[in-house]
Symmetry: C2
Subunit: 187 residues, 2 copies
DNA sequence: TTGTAATAGTGATTTTTGTCACGCAGAAAA
DNA sequence: TTTTCTGCGTGACAAAAATCACTATTACAA
């Protein structure tokens, strides 16, 4: 199981066995069942998570009581309420399992130790962060340029597996349309 | 003028004079006039830019010929078509001046030299990237949770100076609404 | 087995937003 | 000065999407 993490990191920076042992010693493993919460809105955020297997969703609940999906996190993804994590404030979002999920957990303190102790890891996180930033920008662009139907098709093309794994109601919530509208688009 | 860059970096990592001299040697200065382009869609992207003074907009032109504003870049902001910059591919967006603007330019090669040559700088860019990522996520959230009027008010609250500096047509394009709708909202 | 959620489709209607058209004021250019 | 170009507001109408209501199906728990 730790091989998954090693392969993931080594796609960006090669590591010696010793280096990986050092890296790995900073993580803990946890298993969650479908519907369980890794992060609850209002509570503090101890960890960021690397998803080994399973599927998570990052949820924001607005004042009107509506639920919005900020992102899905599949295998090999990093996820957390990063704002709360990095600033050590209370979570404004929740992180919940859509499937039984195995994760590696990283305390902020250990994240920082990793970064200062091994420059390769700071480099790794920088690449990851840049990629994440560019991904978010693409999503913003799809809101700017596309209507609901086009956004739906883009999602379908980019993450076809989601359509087997996630109820359409949640896809609608990710796309920013009502479930009724999405239902009419896909028929 | 280089003091602006130093202060900006030192908000995150303190530097000795020698370190800053090393950092600064990787940048070049350029001045652009209102309406000039720093990046043109379709061309290669040599630099990322630190805005010393002035105002830029990052533009995406869609297939229908519509212009969308992906972001504004004010004083102390970093901007580029980062996807094209990091992957050394052709720009899909354009970067244009809304005001006369002074920038520090950083070649990708020098960005990498900075990161490997001085871990503090890799750390600096990691913090910046994380912040940028979280900012984008907030913008996504505003698309998910808010209608045009609310998005407009959020923008007004967060960046009041934009309303003095930028025509409303462009704010509409940033918010993802037509200029007519925005006009009706603000009256 | 029965009952209860969760999921998904669809009609009817309202709300929001976009599009097209026009006019006007001020800035910039000739 | 006159002319041209932007930016901005607004009316009329069309399109997109949300909301409300109801139904059917399936999965799952008691």
């Amino acid at each position: 199981m730790q091989e998954k993490l090693r392969e993931h990191i080594e796609k960006i920076v090669p590591l010696t066995d010793d280096e990986f042992a050092f890296v790995f010693s900073h993580f803990t493993i946890k298993n969650y069942k479908k519907r369980e919460f890794l992060i609850q809105e209002g509570e503090s955020v101890k960890y960021s998570y690397f998803v080994v297997s399973g599927l998570l969703m990052l949820i924001y609940n607005d004042e009107r009581g509506k639920q919005h999906i900020v992102s899905f996190a599949m295998e090999d993804w990093w996820e957390s309420d990063f704002l709360a994590y990095f600033t050590q404030t209370k979570a404004t979002m929740s992180l919940q399992c859509l499937e039984d999920t195995d994760v590696f957990c990283l305390l902020l303190e250990d994240y920082q130790k990793l970064c200062t102790g091994l420059q390769k890891m700071e480099h790794f996180f920088l690449i990851k962060s840049n990629n994440g930033h560019m991904g978010s920008q693409q999503r913003i662009l799809s809101f700017l340029t596309s209507n609901a139907k086009e956004r739906y098709e883009q999602l379908l093309k980019r993450y076809p597996s989601l359509f087997q794994r996630v109820p359409k109601t949640l896809l609608a919530s990710y796309l920013g349309v009502s479930r009724e509208t999405l239902s009419r688009l896909s028929s």
